[in-house]
Amino acid sequence: MPARYGAVMRNFLAMSAVLALSVVALGCGGGARDEAGTATLITIDGSSTVFPIAEAMAEEFGKANPDVRTPTVGISGTGGGFQKFCRSEADISNASRPIRPAEIDACRTAGVDYIELPIAYDGIAIVVNPANTWARAITVAELRTLWAPEAQGKVTRWNQVRTSWPNRDIRLFGAGVDSGTYDYFTEAIVGKEGASRGDFTSSEDDNVIVQGVASDELALGFLPLAYVEQNRSRLTIVPVDDGKAERGAGPITPSAETVRDGTYQPLSRPLFIYVARKAADRPDVQQFVQMFFDRPELVREVGYIELTPQIYDLARTHFADRKVGTAFGEGGSQVGVTLEELLARER
């Protein structure tokens, strides 16, 4: 549904929530997190990719605990979320990539410890308009030709990507630079995080991209799988061929199966929440975080892929042990982290 204004409203709500929280904090002499740890509001911010999961959890949490205020979930993008998180303006940060070295430093300087918890798996789908009759599959090399910084102003027609495609304009849509989806996509396709052409319609709000591709015959865009699931009739998925036969030969369509078995590569990635160490002592936060392990069916409901029970158990243990820090020390997006790899890292 309509895009831009939704984002404005949600950001406005998130901002008012943050404002309200700071007012409370001032009013109580800095004691928003009071000793008893009850009756305070859980604030969540960050990735728009993780948003549908966090929102579903928050809703269920609110239903199950009518005496507790329903947690607020903002959309600032993964980068924006970490900024707020490290300033202690959010209890939980949603992230569609692991925390980056610069963000690790920012949190350390501010004295914010965090517990990293993998919560789901996602594929980034390449989508075109349903009226597009030619793009039936695309290779990673072609995607690189299309999105690399050198393509700016030069690769502007479909037949420049593949000669058999029509000699018509190509119009590109993708995640904004504050978004973890953008970081991951550039790392996986171009080979360098944050490196891409600049002449495409970029938005932190994935709904804008849905609207753009759904209303333009010549469009191509990339989107988290959940947003594609919700708009199945308005978008066509383009299978991606990574040219590596050992991970499934030929073009692979992103789906729960291909993402889970590691054949839809390199555009599959784990999603995380980061919980502030201090907030983890609050009973309401503990209860809320448990929901991510206990209710994986909600992950499936909103269109993502749930992790294996083993990984959820590991995450549960990490949370119980208050294991702070990240298992992704090299920082930022990492391509090709399959479920087994994730499991190994979490151990």
């Binding site: 831009r4 904004g176 600049g198």
Partner: protein, 299 residues
């Protein structure tokens, strides 16, 4: 005894005077504050980016890894949408003004004019979605290859939005043309059409121009419609069928993300804002000057 109440009331009077003065000062102070902040941040921006690169550069990618700060694509986007809006609003606004002023019976005018002005009262976010979800899909039936986000749909809708501004102010200007001029024209045997086009419109010309400039200034500063329906892709083009980005839409985009304060990306919105402010300010000045002139002639 008698002095006391008087002194008290005088003190009270002074208090009220001061309160009113402060109220007036507040709005002037706010304006001055806005200009000051714009200027400070713009100067800080121009210290890092040369003014030539800013004003004449043809690529605008300040948020990306290799930033370019050429504002021309945003200026082109704003100009393109505004020109389309004026192409819609000018003829329609002028013709309805002529009808309302010269042809419509007074009773009908008393109904039509306020109804037309309702158009100006519709929230711009409604216009934005009207452009995105109704006008653009409608246009796509006739124009193959029209993108979902484009300059044409929002331009047309914006033209409808500023139409009452043009028609209402132009009609006021025509009404102010002295009756004697019309009667003189009729006495010479001119038809109603000839009188309207050759006598009334030229006589009210400065007022009509002022109305048009004001409408253009409104179109340039309009934000919500273009932020929703025109896209977010700075592109130096005169093609109205593809996604573009206007200056106002860029400011919205950056304000929605989380660009940290004090960075060059953050300062771009002030530099763009300053440019926008200067543009609309000059247009408003021109409009005020023209209206002043028109008042002198027939006042």
């Amino acid at each position: 005894m008698t002095l006391r109440p008087r002194a008290r009331s005088r003190g009270f009077e002074a208090l009220i005077e001061w309160a009113l003065f402060i109220c007036a000062l507040l709005s002037i102070g706010t304006t001055a504050g806005i200009i000051l902040v714009l200027a400070i941040e713009t100067v800080a921006f121009l210290r890092e980016v040369s003014i030539v690169a800013f004003l004449f550069g043809t690529e605008w990618t300040p948020l990306f890894a290799t930033p370019r700060f050429g504002v021309l694509p945003l200026v082109a986007g704003t100009t393109l949408v505004s020109v389309i809006a004026m192409l819609v609003a000018l003829p329609m606004g002028l013709l309805s003004a002529i009808y309302l002023s010269e042809y419509a019976p007074p009773r009908l005018r008393r109904v039509i004019k306020p109804v037309l002005e309702i158009l100006a009262g519709v929230p711009t976010v409604v216009y934005g979605y009207f452009a995105l979800l109704f006008v653009t899909p409608l246009l796509q039936r006739f124009i193959p290859g029209l993108a979902g986000f484009n300059a044409l749909g929002p331009g047309i809708v914006m033209g409808i939005m500023i139409l009452p501004l043009v028609s209402s102010l132009s009609e006021d200007a025509m009404q102010a043309v002295p009756r004697g001029l019309r009667e003189g024209s009729y006495a010479l045997g001119a038809t109603r059409m000839q009188t309207s086009i050759r006598v009334v419109v030229p006589a009210a010309f400065s007022g009509i121009t002022a109305a048009c400039i004001l409408a253009a200034s409104r179109a340039i500063g309009e934000t919500m419609i273009v932020a929703i329906a025109a896209g977010q892709q700075p592109r130096l083009t005169w093609n109205p069928l593809v996604p573009i980005e206007t200056m106002t839409a860029y400011i919205v985009q950056v304000s929605l993300g989380d660009t940290p304060q004090g960075t060059i990306e953050y300062r771009t919105i002030f530099a763009v804002g300053m440019l926008l402010f200067l543009g609309t300010f000059l247009l408003n000045l021109a409009s005020a000057w023209l209206r002043e002139r028109f008042r002198e002639e027939y006042g």
